[in-house]
């Protein structure tokens, strides 16, 4: 840097990092519109906003991943232009991404070495890795291969990797999305310690309670613009949400359920080996779900939820037909199409590429799951009018906003596409709905519509199974909650009795250990 002022003499009123009128344009779309933000040392600064508000764009610009179209960034008062992330790191900016960039088959130390621009030997680096991880209470064994590690441990690698460059400023993108409540508490201790060492932290999240607990300042983005900078401790979760969304969020209404006595979805002692080396083995899963009931499955991502969804949907088949029973019919050996014909419907976690073919029209994506049982196909020919009418009905019932009648799936925003997918399935009047992460990355308005739809479907007598990592969501809409850990499913708890602490313990696998201990001593 050309700075002639000795670092120690920097005036205190200079922020560590400043963006001035930072603007990023993609074609005619303004992802960031003249954003001013000041980051001060020794502060945890929250960046709040709905999906698509421009948080990622802003952070990418600060980390040198994209070039701003207009405006400027200042580092300790001096203009800063970043040609890439390595230059950002050289300034002392570190980042921990939401999606980890780790190689499963390499060791912890190898992964860290790949992310460093360093010149030190691998041995020295490993030693330093161990030291840094111990100092910050983030224990890591450098020689373990990443695929053996839990999601929380993987995040530790990313954090330690960033800390090894001794950053003055650390950016974390939704770090608690993949953590249990207890793991999140551990992380907050580390972050507070980093803050006390004089570092600045930019903390991206949409969990408002967390932000209130942890952060000193909050900048709120909406539609690419900065709408406020405030002290989150002085706000309520509701007032923060209002600033993020720009309106009050509708509360979901829980109708009086019409319980049927027959179980509509039964899983009997389902065990399934993973189909790839790093998958999770499902172990003796059993559950019973009656019509009118919503069962939630909580758990940290990667504990077998994907495998369980595939086993329920029929994307993977079980050997024993009796392991999955849909509306009284053994279906473990039936294909997804046959299960749909029995009245089941499925909404996977990935909207693009799994729930829909991204580059195909909505009408074709209606056909994707509707061809089995809804008069869309006659004698092998597609009834285009029927597929289009499904699009129209989903659009109307679920308020899907789109540019034209029948656009490509990929052109819809996440929330609108999710409303379409949920609508597409609910319009088939399923008796069993299995849905994974129904509101993941969806704006608050769409999330409310989707949750209400799930409640209404259950009220009409269907059995609904919801897998989610969002405990607030599960608490809001489910009757019972079970927890998935290492391919095991816990006994469901009544939602009213499922405290965050209890669920957190189950998510960390502790009751399982107790149970095993009891089994050993008992046997």
């Amino acid at each position: 840097m050309l700075d002639s002022t000795p670092a120690g003499l920097l005036p205190d009123e200079t922020p560590l990092l400043q963006t001035v009128g930072l603007t990023k344009r993609y074609g005619s779309f303004l992802a960031n519109d003249a954003i001013d933000i000041d980051i001060w040392p020794q502060q945890i600064h929250a960046l709040l906003g709905e999906n698509g508000a421009g948080k990622s764009t802003l952070v990418k610009a600060i980390y040198g991943l994209i070039q701003p179209s207009e405006g400027e960034m200042r580092w300790q008062g001096e203009p800063m232009v970043l040609s890439g992330p390595s230059e950002a790191r050289a300034h002392g900016i570190g980042m921990v991404f939401q999606h980890f960039s780790l190689f499963d088959n390499l060791t912890v130390a190898e992964n860290v070495a790949l992310g460093l621009d360093g010149k030190e030997s691998f041995k020295d680096m490993s030693a330093r890795l161990k030291e840094v991880s111990n100092v910050y209470g983030l224990p890591l064994e450098p020689r373990r291969e990443v695929w053996q590690l839990s999601v929380g441990e993987r995040q530790r690698i990313e954090i330690v990797r960033a800390l090894m460059q001794n950053p003055k400023f650390l950016i974390l993108d939704e770090p608690t999305a993949v953590l249990t409540p207890q793991e999140a508490d551990q992380l907050f201790i580390v972050l507070n310690r980093l803050k006390s060492e004089g570092r600045a932290i930019l903390y991206i999240s949409h969990k408002l309670e967390e932000v209130k607990r942890l952060c000193d300042t909050a900048t709120i983005l909406r539609g690419g613009r900065k709408v406020a900078t405030c002290n989150p401790k002085a706000e309520t979760a509701a007032s923060l949400a209002r600033m993020m969304v720009g309106a009050d969020i509708k509360e979901v209404k829980i109708a009086a359920g019409r319980r049927t006595t027959v179980p509509r979805l039964v899983v009997n002692d389902l065990s399934l080996a993973p189909d790839d080396a790093h998958g999770v083995r499902l172990q003796h899963i059993s559950l019973e779900l009656k019509g009118g009931e919503i069962l939630g499955i909580a758990g940290v991502a990667g504990n077998g939820q994907d495998e369980f969804f595939a086993a329920l949907s029929g994307e993977r088949l079980a050997k024993d037909p009796g392991t999955v029973v849909i509306d009284g019919i053994a279906a473990g050996h039936l294909s997804i199409t046959q299960r749909r014909k029995l009245g089941a419907a499925f909404v996977p976690e990935e909207r693009l590429g799994h729930g829909t073919a991204p580059r195909m029209k909505l009408s074709e994506n209606a056909l994707l799951t509707g061809h089995a049982a809804s008069g869309m196909v006659q004698h092998g020919f597609v009834n285009t009018a029927a597929t289009l009418s499904t699009v129209d009905r989903a659009t109307e019932s679920f308020d899907v906003r789109k540019a034209k009648r029948d656009p490509e799936a990929a052109s819809l925003s996440g929330g609108n596409l999710q409303k379409f997918i949920v609508g597409r399935e609910i319009l088939r009047n399923p008796t069993v709905l299995v849905v994974s992460q129904p509101t993941w990355g969806v704006d608050a308005g769409a999330a409310a519509v989707i949750r209400q739809a799930l409640l209404d479907l259950a009220a009409s007598g269907a059995a609904v199974l919801v897998t989610s990592q969002d405990l607030d969501e599960l608490t809001e809409i489910t009757d019972r909650i079970a927890v998935m850990f290492h391919g095991h499913l816990s006994e469901p708890l009544a939602t009213a009795e499922a405290s965050r602490e209890k669920l957190g313990l189950l998510m960390g696998g502790s009751s399982l250990e107790q149970k095993e201990a009891a089994d050993v001593s008992g046997g």
């Binding site: 207009e70 400027e72 203009p79 195909m360 092998g380 990929a410």
Partner: protein, 363 residues
């Protein structure tokens, strides 16, 4: 200032239609430079290639004759490519179809076999092509072998097998030791449409196949399955479509159509089995399929265009002594440019200017 490729929100249908034309334009520009380098007048050469063949009825008929196998093969290939199954071995399936159909012609030669001979030849040719196409498909589905490699390697097997037959067991005893079978009997020959021309029934079959493929892809659930499996494999599995079945199906259809094209070519314009019955139809058809946007109607047009390059290439060789291999250079360039231009369907170019600095405060 620099140039970036930026992803579009939605695929551009305009570019999808315009891209082949741009590619043809760029190919012609490149070819002109090439002609100039080898000392030929580019204008005269392009005239020989693209204009002269369109001006007399004999050449026009020849274009249709050449387009027939190209379109038949490319329609099958387009189904494979849409389903993400990479059949590169249509040339081999073409040859095997020709061989299998010829077997009936050779065995009934000189007998008083009736009108069943030609239909039986066409059926057997198509069936053999389909079975030959299924070999790489089964290796792919069962063992995960790359169908690109296996289908391509089987081309050379088919080529040498044909060579062996016409030099050995099937050689015409009265053929002065030339490696060829005897000319097929009239009942084993594809009838011409107009007396005295070379335009034959195969052209009609090709048109029927184009129409059938249009219906299959546009209107039926099977066609939808083929498109989804290629476009979004995981979504296809979620939809309940089995990608392995579709690999087998599309390979069988494309092998069958290539085999049909092979036997039509041998029983039609060529009239007997001999080596060199194909100037690379199976490979040129790959270009036809992509130039035609993997769309049946597009393939019909693209097939006629590439047939024009074959005829034009012969004209240019005769009138201007331009080597025939230049035609292959032309076809290669065309495929290169089509694929390059296609990236603009999903992406667009944008000029980026360095960010304007906000006026700095006077410090």
């Amino acid at each position: 200032m620099y140039l970036v490729l930026e992803k579009r929100a939605e695929r551009s249908h305009t570019i999808a239609l315009v891209s082949p034309l741009v590619a043809i334009g760029l190919t012609i520009v490149t070819m002109s430079i090439l002609f100039a380098i080898i000392g030929k007048n580019p204008v005269a050469a392009l005239d020989a290639y693209f204009i002269a063949p369109l001006t007399d009825s004999y050449s026009l008929q020849e274009i249709a004759v050449k387009a027939t196998p190209l379109v038949l093969i490319a329609i099958g290939l387009s189904l494979c490519y849409l389903a993400n199954a990479w059949n590169i071995g249509a040339e081999g399936q073409f040859l095997i179809g020709a061989v299998a159909g010829s077997w009936i012609a050779v065995k009934t030669q000189g007998t008083d076999a009736g009108y069943w001979v030609l239909p039986a030849m066409l059926l057997l040719g198509a069936a053999a092509g389909a079975l030959y196409g299924l070999i790489p498909a089964i290796c792919k589905v069962r063992f995960g072998a790359s169908e690109i490699l296996t289908s391509l390697m089987l081309v050379y097997v088919a080529d040498l097998f044909l060579d062996y037959l016409v030099r050995g067991p099937w050689r015409d005893p009265a053929g002065f030791n030339f490696p060829t079978t005897a000319d097929f009997d009239p009942v084993a020959t594809v009838p011409v449409l107009i007396e005295g021309s070379r335009l034959h029934l195969g052209a009609v079959i090709a048109l029927v196949v184009v129409a059938a493929a249009s219906v299959l892809l546009g209107r039926t659930i099977k066609g939808f399955e083929i498109r989804v499996v290629g476009a979004a494999p995981r979504a296809a599995r979620f939809g309940g479509f089995n990608s392995n079945h579709l690999i087998l199906l599309t390979f069988a259809i494309s092998g069958g159509l290539a085999g049909l094209a092979g036997i039509i070519e041998v029983a039609g314009p060529v009239g007997h089995l001999q080596p060199g019955i194909s100037p690379g139809y199976g490979f040129t058809a790959i270009i036809v399929a992509f130039l035609g946007r993997l769309n049946p109607i597009g393939i019909l047009i693209a097939g006629l265009f590439l047939a024009l390059t074959f005829i034009g290439g012969e004209q240019a060789q005769i009138t201007m002594k331009i080597p025939l291999d230049v035609t292959k250079v032309f076809q290669g360039l065309l495929l290169f440019y089509v694929l390059a231009c296609d990236s603009l369907i999903l992406y667009r170019f944008r000029l980026i200017f360095p960010s304007r600095q906000v006026p700095r405060g006077t410090g």
